[in-house]
Symmetry: C2
Subunit: 196 residues, 2 copies
DNA sequence: GTAATAAACTAACGAACGTTAGCAATTAAT
DNA sequence: ATTAATTGCTAACGTTCGTTAGTTTATTAC
């Protein structure tokens, strides 16, 4: 009856959430069972409930952890004294960095949020909509200042966000180029596509 | 005990596969039950098995239906007598059109293929890899001919394919711009991002 | 050292799932 | 009109699921 090994900084719950991120990313939320998760943690399924309330709570933790980081960064970017185009590049770089460094959480948050339950679901959707609106407003500002060519701003945002999601495939890839090169390639292509 | 209504052209099985596409797109493959599907079709769950072999067979039909269309179009594009950059634009336009016209099937094929079972799973993955390789080869050819700026070709393909996946959000959107405008926006931005 | 707390275990629950068997009703073929 | 083939139905099967109850073991606090 050995206890879960704990890293220096982090509760048992955090360890479980981390393993859940990995599992949900690999198999999807619905296809991941609590017994799967228990095995990954090295414990019986019932034991997990000493640390978490439910399976969906794990999804809350993951989704809102990611959403909060993105929201906070949006605050920072908006208040920077740089051009709108530079702000867009800043956002793109942050998305790429998050996707590279916190791949599993970001991926799960992106693909599995629909399995959240109200009121978390509505809350998450609102945050998401808000984020995109703020992003689109920056893009629009860039168009007004002729730094970005005239296009439908919400569409531009969709393209940018989804394009960055492509890093998923890079992560799985066996022969991957290094992270810096990937970042520069993406920024070059995406920012390049914006210019008039 | 009324029978399933049938459109002029199409078997009962095709009707069921169509409803499955819609259901799987909305809720995901694992979260969609055969009882859900039966209700959408207007029949009891057990009755579905007079027309299909299993739940996964529905996923096979959807995934390979889409994959075959894309493979066939790749054949056609490759043999066209146009520049590499024009071929890339041709592929992009096809992807966009497919995403707009056959949204649900394409979406399901893209996001739910991992629930295929071997040997279908391996087969699908191989087709997918092959397709991307051929796409990347065209991109590389475009770089050699200075029509496309020098970048990591596989990365470019990932970005392009995922960016087009963003049409998903367009489909859900309430205030959507029209399909033609969307297409031109996307092509402009994506092809624009490729040029030196 | 003893008591209190935290965290593991075994066993089992009710619900939902994909699927099968057997039968009834409808449609198509002769 | 009779037969054969389709296509629906009800009932139930064996699994797997998330979760709870109750208990035992390990750690922490005094």
């Amino acid at each position: 009856m050995a206890r879960i090994k704990i890293e220096k900084n982090g509760s048992r719950k955090e360890l479980i959430v981390g393993k859940a991120a990995s599992l949900f990313r690999e198999k999807g939320f619905k296809a991941s069972s609590m017994r799967d998760l228990a095995e990954a943690v090295g414990v019986e399924a019932a034991s997990l409930y000493n640390h978490i309330k439910s399976k969906t709570e794990l999804l809350h933790e993951l989704c809102f952890g990611v959403a909060n980081r993105f929201m906070q960064h949006m605050d920072e970017t908006e208040s920077k004294k740089i051009t709108a185009l530079q702000k867009v590049e800043d956002l793109i770089r942050f998305h790429i960095a998050e996707m590279i460094e916190h791949y599993e959480e970001v991926y799960v948050s992106d693909r599995e949020w629909k399995y959240l339950e109200d009121p978390y679901l509505s809350n998450f959707q609102n945050q998401r909509r808000m984020y995109r609106k703020r992003f689109a407003a920056i893009v629009e500002e860039g168009m007004k200042q002729k730094q970005i060519k005239k296009m439908d701003a919400p569409t531009v945002v969709l393209i940018l966000l989804h394009a960055i999601g492509g890093i998923e495939s890079w992560h799985r890839s066996t022969q991957k180029i290094n992270a810096d090169a990937l970042t520069e390639n993406m920024v070059s292509m995406l920012v390049g596509g914006l210019k008039p």
